[in-house]
């Protein structure tokens, strides 16, 4: 595979939590090709945002990092000075809460053109012209006026469009989008997603799309990686993630989510609570205590990532359970249909 934009291999990150070094990421691997959208899905504490931060070189200085992150073949950890600045203009980030990532006392124009002016040496007038052009691309017509406004004068949805436009101004090759629509209303989410999707295709931009929403990831991304307790447990083509999961956690997550087309008498809740990465025990499957398919072996061996039907699964029983996990979510459906009939 020479045509890879980003390669993450065996990424393990330890941070000091309450004075002790603890793993927040454990053996994470990811591939993103040019123009490819990869979803990163998981519950809180699973390590999604930490993965994005590691890729963006935004980890705290004292973090202990093992493994490699390569961008267009170059090791990201070794970048310094102008190479690091160049990398940062190639890899752009957008975040969940735009208001937390923009200086409230500076004008939109200042914020948008800063990277162009300081990193790429573009003159102010030219930077402003490009900013207005980019604003038009994200559906903001009156760009000149917007550049003179302050963040508090824009709604959340509008501000997130500004963030997207700003991120794209340096002509990045990879976009790290960390729950960019979670704080937005659903109709605004749909618009922002449409913009992201259009521009990504137009600019042939790779994207790592982080979300807790399996359905959103499945709808937007080519492939999706599912994280649990600091590890990637499944990577699959998004199209089949919902109906044909490879890992019991993915299946359980899908089955736990209420369905907009039918009510179930009870949801298939996953017992217990999601583990944070640093709580996960060594030498066993982190999901085993909550897994309906766990055997003794799952509590005694840490499963490796294994290839399965063109995807990856970190489950000892993945091969054996092949096809059966899908039946599980189907049986939920028939159960709920019955209960609905009973309600009627």
């Amino acid at each position: 595979m020479t045509d890879t934009l980003l390669e993450v291999d065996h990424l393990t990150v330890r941070l000091r939590v309450e004075g002790r070094p603890r793993s927040v990421l454990r053996d994470v691997g990811l591939r993103i090709g040019p123009g490819e959208a990869v979803g990163l899905v998981g519950e809180s504490g699973s390590g999604k945002s930490m993965t994005a931060r590691a890729i963006g070189r935004l980890l705290p200085e004292r973090a202990a990092v093992e493994g490699t992150i390569r961008f267009q073949g170059a090791d990201v950890a070794g970048l310094t000075g102008s190479d690091l600045r160049r990398y940062r203009s190639q890899v752009a980030m957008i975040f969940q809460d735009p208001r937390a990532h923009i200086n409230p006392v500076r004008r939109i124009g200042d914020f948008m053109t800063e990277a162009l002016r300081t990193n790429l040496g573009v003159r102010s007038a030219e930077a402003a012209r490009r900013a207005v052009e980019m604003l038009a691309q994200v559906g903001i017509e009156d760009g000149e006026r917007r550049l003179r406004q302050y963040p508090h004068q824009l709604s959340g949805g509008l501000l997130q469009r500004v963030m997207i436009a700003a991120a794209l101004l340096t002509e990045p090759r990879l976009l790290l989008a960390d729950e960019p629509t979670t704080a937005l209303d659903v109709t605004t989410q749909a618009e922002v997603m449409a913009i992201l999707d259009d521009l990504r295709r137009e600019l042939h931009l790779g994207m790592l799309f982080i979300t807790h929403d399996l359905e959103l990831a499945a709808a937007i991304c080519d492939r999706t990686a599912v994280m649990y307790a600091g590890q990637v447990v499944e990577v699959s083509a998004s199209a089949r993630l919902h109906d044909d999961p490879l890992h019991p956690y993915t299946a359980a997550l899908t089955a736990a989510r209420p369905d907009i087309t039918r009510a179930a008498s009870r949801l298939r809740a996953i017992p217990g609570r999601p583990l944070s990465a640093f709580e996960a025990p060594d030498g066993q499957c982190a999901f085993a205590p909550r897994c309906a398919h766990a055997l003794d072996a799952c509590r005694e061996t840490a499963p490796e990532m294994t290839e399965l039907d063109g995807g990856l699964s970190r489950c000892l029983r993945a091969g054996e359970l092949r096809g059966k996990l899908a039946t599980e979510s189907e049986s939920t459906e028939s159960e709920s249909t019955e209960s609905e009939a009973a309600d009627a």
Binding site: L158, Q189, A190, D197, A219, R257, P258, I260, R262, S265
Partner: protein
Amino acid sequence: MPEPVLEVAGLRKEFGELVAVDDVTFTVPAAGSLAIVGESGSGKTTVARMIVGLEHPTRGTITACGNDRSKPTRAARDRRRRGREVQIVFQDPYTSLDPRQTAEQTLSEMIRLHHGWAADRRRARVTELTELVGLDSRQARALPRSLSGGQRQRVAIARALAAEPQVLILDESVAALDVSIQAQVLNLLAEIRDQTGVSYILISHDLAVVRQLTDQAIVMHRGQVVERGATAQVLDDPQHPYTQRLRASVPRPGWKPARRPVAAAATDGEASP
């Protein structure tokens, strides 16, 4: 026809020039469940705040269990009675609990306030409530800071139930929870309804959650009710263009998000002062 436990008629709320809620009318039957669906600025939370008495209506009436509650009351007795009629669980389990009180203390205080009762009986009821919401004895004696979001939300639900209300308002109460925990809490709410016959008003932007928990739904847009009906019907066959747009905005397999005309979207997105 079962007697409605809650009736809201011609409700209106103005904040200065802004009409946040405009002529909203609905009823909730005993043991029924109503969803109020809408996005930010639709007025759905203002309706909830008026029902519990945190805001006063500019016009209109709110009647719970046959008692009018549209006007503020000074009498502690009346305020407590209102608390036994309607309780609310807020979205954020991190800010809605007293950080210095354990779950047991929170519940015990609520029971003393609303029912009096001797210490023994209070203790027994606290145990009942913590079991009902699935908190173990360690969690029941813990301060909020050492509980997870899902556990805190269980405490908040138990606290609301301690007053033994006829109506429980759930204001985005499961929105901040992880999917696996959200399913547990939704099942818990279904369980509680089966056991106690409490009525729910679910305020939510999440249509799948609405489908799961409610029988009836109203859709609010810019302060007004634009559509109402059985939840299944509103979601499967939305009539109002806004409800249709809302329904079409929900991600699903094969979903292609639609871009609205640029100019309209841009004006629409302007923040209100």
